[in-house]
């Protein structure tokens, strides 16, 4: 009961509140930003950095894929050469058996 009362008081604490007053220079600052075109520059810098990160991610993904495929190819080659050597040895052994 006491808890419910406390929660109600908290939830109703915004009743009768006033709007926050901005600083008197806020409007002038915004106008100055529009006039100087700073905003567009800030925006483009942000877009550029996003693009840069996207490109970096893309390039690293390509590099990773290449490395993975290289490792895989080498592994397959090694496996194949091992198998060829083994079969050659087997053939050689068999062949020698025939001569004897």
């Amino acid at each position: 009961m006491k808890q419910e009362k406390w929660i109600d008081e908290i939830l109703e604490s915004t009743k009768g509140m006033h709007k926050a007053e901005p600083s008197p220079f806020l409007f002038e600052q915004a106008i100055a930003k529009v006039r100087s075109g700073n905003f567009k520059k800030e925006h483009s810098v942000h877009e550029n950095s996003t693009l840069r990160w996207f490109l970096a991610g893309f390039v690293s993904l390509i590099i990773m894929c290449n490395v993975l495929s290289l490792v895989k190819t080498n592994f397959v080659k090694e496996k194949n050469s091992d198998e060829k050597t083994a079969s050659a040895e087997k053939y050689f052994n068999n062949a020698t058996t025939y001569t004897y």
Partner: protein, 156 residues
């Protein structure tokens, strides 16, 4: 925005966005609804960015102790328009509001702080009035749960 400087930066950004996009305004809704929509979107973007920075700050502080100089602790928020006797309660309420999901937070603030009607909020958030009603209801339920936990934790 639970910080005066952030709120002023955002106000400027909204103003500039309105200035640049005024020609895109199709008069399908009222001008105030359109400006509210821009404000809500900008605020959510700003909060997301801030949360990303917070996470990044936390991660870097795990690896490099010396980079953890930036303090990402929330700090207490005092809304300048709150009546003096309700300041402490409002501070607790804003901390709890911060824990809500984006949609619940937006609907609750527009309804209880901005005192807009559910119909106006529906137009701003591009949702039906019924959905807004349920969002506000769910926000209240979640807030009651969080505040209940806090009550028990504090042993008031």
């Amino acid at each position: 925005m639970q910080n005066k400087e952030d709120a002023e930066d955002l106000t400027q950004e909204v103003f500039i966005e309105v200035f640049h996009s005024l020609e895109k305004f199709k008069q399908e809704s009222s001008l105030s609804t359109w400006i509210y929509r821009i404000t809500v979107n900008k605020s959510l973007d700003f909060l997301r960015k801030k949360n990303r920075k917070k996470r990044f700050g936390f991660m870097t502080s795990l690896f490099h102790k010396e980079t953890s100089e930036v303090n990402f602790d929330k700090g207490h928020f005092d809304h300048p328009g709150i009546l003096l006797e309700k300041k402490e309660n409002a501070r607790i309420l804003f901390e709890a509001i911060d824990l809500l999901s984006e949609n619940q937070k937006t609907a609750f603030i527009l309804f209880h702080v901005e005192e807009l009607s559910q119909k106006e909020i529906a137009a701003i958030m591009n949702l039906s009035p019924k959905a807004i009603e349920s969002l506000i209801q769910r926000a209240k339920t979640t807030l009651r749960e969080k505040l209940g936990d806090l009550y028990k934790k504090r042993g008031i």
